[in-house]
C-alpha cells in the first residue's frame, strides 16, 4: 500500500496525548517525558515536532523490515521497545488519523500485561493511582488502576498548546535514539507485510457518486422543505 503519498505529520490525536503529558509534568516534579515512534526514516521530522513541545527525549524504531506492519505487529514492536524501560504512564492517542483502527493502545497494554485506560477524556493522577473518565456514547465510565498503565486520550481531554520558538530550536539539537529491529530483539519475521496477521487483498478508489439534486430555497424555507420532504419520500425514509 502506498502510504508515501503525503509527508509524515504528527498524528492529531497524539497532540492531545503530548499536551496531557506536559500538564502532568507541570504538576509533578521530576517527570520525564519521552516520545516513542515506530516509523520510517522520514518520521524523524514527526519525532522532532513532538520534541519541540519540550519533551526530554525520543526513541524512534525504524527498520526497512517494518514496512507494512499491521496494528498487531506495531504493538509488538512498541512493546519490545519498552522492554527494560522504566515508566509509570504510557500516553497515546485513541486513534491514528489514517488507519484509525484504535487497536494499538489495548494491544500494547496486552503485551505489557498492563491495564489500558483507553478513550480518556479526563485523567487524574494521585500518587500511583490513575483515574480516567472513558468516553462512552452516552457519557463516561470512571475507571481506576495503579501505575504503570497505558492511557489513550480523546480530543475532548485538553486544548493542545503550540510549540514555542525556544522549544523548536531546542528540539533541533536533541538527539533521537534511533534503533533497528536487532536493537530491540524483534525478529524480522514478526513484522512487516510477512509478519502481519492481516493482509490487504486490493484497494480501489470509491466509485464516483451521481451528482446530487440541489434545490434553491426562496427564503421562506417552504420551497426547500417541501422538496426535501418529497426526496425523503422518494428514498423511502418517510
Amino acid at each position: 500500500m502506498d502510504r508515501d503519498r503525503s509527508d509524515p505529520v504528527l498524528n492529531a490525536n497524539d497532540e492531545w496525548a503530548i499536551e496531557e503529558a506536559l500538564q502532568i509534568a507541570e504538576r509533578t516534579p521530576d517527570t520525564e517525558i519521552v516520545a516513542l515512534c515506530m516509523g520510517p526514516d522520514e518520521a524523524g521530522s514527526t519525532v522532532r515536532k513532538a520534541l519541540s513541545y519540550g519533551l526530554d527525549g525520543a526513541i524512534q524504531i525504524t527498520d526497512p523490515a517494518l514496512s507494512g506492519s499491521d496494528a498487531a505487529a506495531t504493538a509488538r514492536v512498541l512493546a519490545a521497545a519498552l522492554a527494560g524501560q522504566e515508566f509509570d504512564l504510557i500516553l497515546m492517542g485513541n486513534q491514528s488519523s489514517d488507519a484509525r483502527t484504535m487497536l494499538v493502545p489495548a494491544m500494547l497494554a496486552a503485551h505489557l500485561g498492563l491495564p489500558a485506560l483507553t478513550f480518556a477524556r479526563h485523567l487524574e493522577i494521585d500518587g500511583d493511582v490513575v483515574t480516567a473518565h472513558r468516553e462512552t456514547p452516552a457519557g463516561y465510565q470512571v475507571v481506576r488502576a495503579t501505575a504503570p498503565v497505558v492511557v489513550s486520550v480523546v480530543e475532548a481531554i485538553n486544548e493542545p498548546r503550540y510549540p514555542t520558538f525556544k522549544g523548536i530550536m531546542a528540539a533541533k539539537k536533541k538527539t533521537i535514539d534511533v534503533r533497528d529491529l536487532a536493537a530491540i530483539d524483534v525478529p524480522a519475521t514478526q513484522v512487516g507485510l510477512d509478519g502481519s496477521a492481516t493482509a490487504v487483498v486490493d484497494i480501489a478508489p470509491r466509485p464516483p457518486k451521481d451528482a446530487g439534486r440541489i434545490v434553491a430555497d426562496d427564503g421562506s424555507g417552504e420551497v426547500g422543505a417541501k422538496a426535501f420532504a418529497d426526496w425523503l419520500v422518494e428514498q423511502k425514509i418517510l
Binding site: 489495548a106 491495564p115 475532548a156 493482509a199 487483498v201 484497494i203 424555507g221 417541501k226
Partner: protein
C-alpha cells in the same frame, strides 16, 4: 465453519447492531455462535436463535462489569474455545475493540476494523471490505489463513433479518477471572442523557449541525429534526469546540465515523476532516446558505437556504406526511 459473534444487550434485550452482525455471520458460516456477558446475558437466547444463532455462550457474573476489558477478554477467549470458531465478528465499537484487541494479542490473531461488507472465500477465511482514508478509497482485506480472524463490523452495514430459528442453546461459561484481570476497576458509570434518541454510532438517521447554527440554542432545532425522524444528533468540530454540543457527538477525523442510512448536515461546510467521518453514509443531505459549500459536492440532496427557515418548515412537512 463456525463463526462467533460478540453480541451486546441491555439486561437481556439484544442490541440492533447485534442482530445485523448475526445476519452477516449467517452468510459466512454454517454454524453461528454468540457470546454475551453481564446480567441478563442468558436472556438473549431467544433473540440470538431468531437471528439464526445455534448457541450462545454466557457469563453473567458481575465481575465483568465491575472491572474493565480483561474480564471480558477472558469471556471471549473461553467462548472461542467452547465454540471452536475460526472467525470472530464484533460490533466496531471502541470498548469492544479493546476487548478483541486483548484477545487477539494472546491468540496471535489478525484484527480487521470497520468492515462494511464480508465475503466468504474458501481459500482461507472471510474477506472484509472497508472504507479507508476518510472514505476516499475502498479496501478489501483478510486475515492470513490459519489465524483466528477478528472482524469489527460497522453499524448499519448489514440489514438485520430474522431467520426464524428457535431459541439458541445456552452454554454457561466457566471463566476464571484472576487478580491480574481485576487491575482496572470500574468505579462509576455516568450517563449523560441524550433523551430517547438512539446512539449516534448505531442510528440509521443522523441530523448534524455545525457553526451555521449560530449558537447552542440552534441545536434544539437539530434535536427536533432528529426526533421527527427517529434519529440521533451529530455535530461538527466547530460546534463541539464552541461548547454548543457534547464532544462525544463530534463526527469526523478526530471524532466518530458514522455510516447511517441518512445523514443530514445543516450549517456544516463539509471540511475534509468532517467528511472523513460521514461520507460513507448511504445518503447524504445538506442545508446550507452557501451553494458552493463543499458538502454539496458529496450530497445526494441539498437545499441552498437558511437552516433557521428550512428546518422548522421541514419538521412540519415530516409531521404532516407521517401523521
Amino acid at each position: 465453519m463456525t463463526t462467533l459473534v460478540v453480541v451486546e444487550h441491555d439486561a437481556g434485550t439484544l442490541g440492533k447492531v447485534s442482530g445485523q452482525i448475526l445476519t452477516a455471520a449467517r452468510g459466512l458460516a454454517d454454524d453461528v455462535h454468540a457470546v454475551a456477558w453481564g446480567p441478563g446475558a442468558a436472556d438473549v437466547a431467544d433473540q440470538v436463535g431468531a437471528f439464526g444463532g445455534s448457541t450462545v455462550h454466557v457469563f453473567d457474573d458481575p465481575v465483568v462489569t465491575a472491572y474493565a476489558t480483561r474480564p471480558q477478554a477472558a469471556v471471549v477467549a473461553a467462548a472461542l474455545d467452547a465454540s471452536g470458531a475460526e472467525t470472530l465478528l464484533y460490533p466496531a465499537d471502541p470498548f469492544i475493540t479493546d476487548v478483541v484487541a486483548t484477545v487477539a494479542v494472546a491468540r496471535e490473531a489478525g484484527v480487521i476494523t470497520d468492515a462494511v461488507d464480508l465475503a466468504s472465500d474458501d481459500a482461507g477465511g472471510p474477506v472484509a471490505t472497508k472504507a479507508i482514508f476518510g472514505g476516499d478509497m475502498i479496501s478489501r482485506c483478510r486475515v492470513k489463513p490459519g489465524r483466528l480472524a477478528c472482524i469489527g463490523v460497522k453499524a448499519n452495514a448489514f440489514a438485520g433479518e430474522a431467520a426464524g430459528g428457535g431459541p439458541a442453546e445456552v452454554d454457561v461459561l466457566d471463566v476464571a477471572v484472576d487478580d491480574a484481570a481485576r487491575a482496572m476497576e470500574v468505579v462509576e458509570v455516568v450517563e449523560q442523557s441524550s433523551g430517547d434518541r438512539p446512539e449516534m454510532t448505531e442510528a440509521s438517521i443522523i441530523a448534524a449541525g455545525g457553526r451555521g447554527l449560530g449558537d447552542a440554542e440552534g441545536f434544539r432545532l437539530i434535536e427536533r429534526l432528529a426526533d421527527a425522524l427517529g434519529g440521533a444528533v451529530g455535530a461538527s468540530r466547530a460546534a463541539t469546540d464552541a461548547g454548543w454540543y457534547p464532544h462525544q457527538h463530534q463526527i469526523g477525523q478526530t471524532g466518530k465515523t458514522v455510516a447511517p442510512q441518512l445523514y443530514i448536515g445543516s450549517g456544516i461546510s463539509g471540511a475534509i476532516q468532517h467528511r472523513a467521518g460521514m461520507q460513507t453514509s448511504q445518503l447524504i443531505a445538506a442545508i446550507n446558505t452557501d451553494g458552493d459549500a463543499p458538502i454539496f459536492s458529496i450530497a445526494d440532496f441539498g437545499v441552498v437556504g437558511d437552516l433557521h427557515k428550512v428546518i422548522p418548515a421541514l419538521i412540519d412537512e415530516i409531521e404532516q406526511r407521517t401523521s
